[in-house]
Subunit: 303 residues, 3 copies
């Protein structure tokens, strides 16, 4: 049942994607370039805003889902649709991902999607998380994370899928896969992505302890590539993108695929099992109880 629902979700997503992309390709064919830019590239939706500069071939995706860009099913669906649109637009060569919310890049997976939900819904949600990772980690575009705020758990994962990570040098921010601190477990493909970035031992330590790193610590272990003052994150991302786009696309894309394909193939071949594994874990009474306690703790903090 969970699988069927998940597949429905998949179909729904694909259907929506194809509608949107056919519209966008239609626009590209029939309308003057300037109008196209206005009409389709600066699309504003509730959770994600995309600015595409056709003169440079670079799109900036602003995550703008208050208060902390939580990765809900709705957010992920919209996010993936936008990435897919850009991916299919051959004039778009680079994607910068950043946040419009203050102090946070993304707070990660939306706990409300895991608490008190049916197995079917949990399965749909997890498939969307997988989809986000698959799309970003295998993107033919140059992807740069402009991390202008804290980036725990799923927010860190999103950053890790990019080709380059630039973080605001603000010691109040932190980044890391801190799932174990909440009593849950980062799945193997989160782990693989982190191992590919910072190596086996640092990942073991980080995941067992659910460590969150300050920007300077993150730089030291290689979790991010560059720190800059907070108000220079986006401009630095733009300059860095120019350097990356000087490399012939074709050679860079084949190289990127060579580096990442084994990790991507692993999830692709175990996707359904991974969903079932997540659903059976997250719907356990003990895990639901942990999440409830965590949510109550959050509520008290805010209250």
């Amino acid at each position: 049942m969970a699988l069927r629902a998940a597949l429905r979700s998949k179909c729904g997503l694909s259907g929506l994607l194809s509608q949107l992309s056919s519209r966008s390709s239609h626009a590209r064919v029939c309308v003057s370039p300037v109008l196209v830019a206005q009409q389709r590239n600066n699309s504003t939706s509730s959770k994600v805003k995309v600015e595409f500069d056709q003169s440079t071939g670079v799109a900036v995706m602003h995550m703008q889902s208050p208060p902390v860009n939580s990765l809900s099913l709705d957010f992920l669906t919209e996010f993936c649709i936008n990435v897919e649109k850009l991916e299919m637009d051959k004039t778009c060569r680079g994607l910068i991902i950043t946040s419009s919310q203050p102090k946070v890049f993304s707070a990660g997976l939306d706990i409300m999607e895991m608490y008190g939900k049916s197995p079917e819904r949990c399965g749909e949600f997890w498939r969307a998380v997988q989809e986000m990772w698959l799309k970003l980690y295998s993107s033919d575009m140059v992807t740069i994370a402009a991390i202008n705020g804290s980036s725990p758990a799923g927010g860190c994962l999103m950053s890790l899928t990019c080709d380059y990570r630039i973080m605001a040098d603000n010691p109040r921010y932190s980044i890391g896969l801190n799932e174990t601190q909440l009593g849950i477990v980062a799945p193997f493909w989160f782990k693989d992505t982190m191992v590919n970035t910072v190596g086996h031992r640092t990942t073991e330590l980080a995941l067992e302890l659910g460590l969150l790193y300050s920007p300077s610590e993150a730089l030291k272990i290689g979790l991010v590539d560059l720190l800059v003052p907070e108000d220079e994150v986006l401009t630095t991302a733009t300059k860095t993108m120019t350097k990356w786009l000087a490399i012939p696309d074709h050679a860079r894309q084949i190289t990127k695929s060579m580096m990442r394909k084994p990790t991507i193939d692993k999830l692709t071949s175990k996707r359904e099992a991974d969903i079932q594994n997540f659903v059976s874990f997250i719907t356990k009474d003990s895990i639901q109880k942990s999440l409830r306690m965590y949510l109550e703790m959050l509520k008290k903090r805010r209250g």
Copy 2:
């Protein structure tokens, strides 16, 4: 023949383990907690002393086999029995391993077990080395090595199986897998454990040259995680353990298994072949000659 003897050894060990554990679980059920703590947790045997603090859930295992905690068959058997007991005691969540001998954590595999011994005996010995590694590397407990002295070869391996390594900041001490210096070879699972800790290239260099590192060098390459003054090794290990035990056990254990299972499965599936390989290598005339020369060199040094 070697295999049969080794299997006998395995059975013997299992039998002893089950006797001991049935005794301990009996004690736990029938006697008051304080008495239990006195009766079974501070067991003193000739080679290993275990102190278990039920209030914290942390056991400290003191290796006390003069002069240098060599990993003989007897030592390993007793060591594994004690680890197994703690593993099966669900109130024990953390294990600190340290040495009661001055200046040395463990000198590693006992060369006398490899020199002039029958193939059967060599096979028994090797199975016990494997068992030590398998038990520690897959332990559900948080394991911390409190390395208060030199830790070459098998002593280094034992440290590498732990979740965290704290070493005395004494430049006279050293740590490393120095097997090649003696003309012998660290097997693939020693190698895998080191690669998982310090990466491929550092391992290649370390194993080809049989390098021993000073504490500060070991920290630099990631072979240990922390250096503290010699008299603070154990207290720091205890404090560090508290931090680790703040993480929900279940999530940490699944994460640890995810990181280590492929490496463990590799030895498990090749265990008999690895024993045969060791036995046929170590019983070679040329290797026996190397060991004799090394032993004579040691004798002269002491004499």
Copy 3:
């Protein structure tokens, strides 16, 4: 057809190798050691000069193919013959590779072998590149790269196959796998060798951007092991070799093989497919056009 030609080349190489080695082994048997040293060890050919010191067991291979030791088919054939000769000479335990050309170690694969050539010829060339890598990466000798000049692309690969890399501390020199900058792609075994040396993430970044590193940057990421003043590169290599040769050969060789065999087996099992892949890629119109533009750019620079 490409394969057949490549196989012919292989046969030719083997034939030549066996002629040369039978000559050398004949010399070793029949002539006095001093004469042997003069006769066969200081062989001078057009592209490679080998000096073998029988008193130390160390050979120094000077690459002397003007202007920049490009790895042409002729160069690679001669290079491999010489490595093979030394490999089969059990008195030769160590090999130092260095350059006789000013300012350059090796400029890497000869672009003229890839531009305007028949598929058959391209296949022959690629097999020779594979052969060079296979011979060096699996060598039983201790191999040290004395990198006394720039070492891009194939020159970097050659360095990476060695057990140790010593580079001239001259900021004008650079080293790296910069293939993508030219619009071509480092194949999986170049990538594997680099991952084994500097890890996954550094390799991803280096290969996607085609980065060339200054000596100090190369040291920092672990692409080279030691920097020394330019006029001390070879003497330091010789001193370093002495340290390596203090390790028992047999234990070191088994250890080296354990570290490298999976990577070597991967190419060995995919060798023909890798050749076909290279040939079909390099003979594409778009790639040929890229190479022509690059060659014209080089011509203008020199002109």
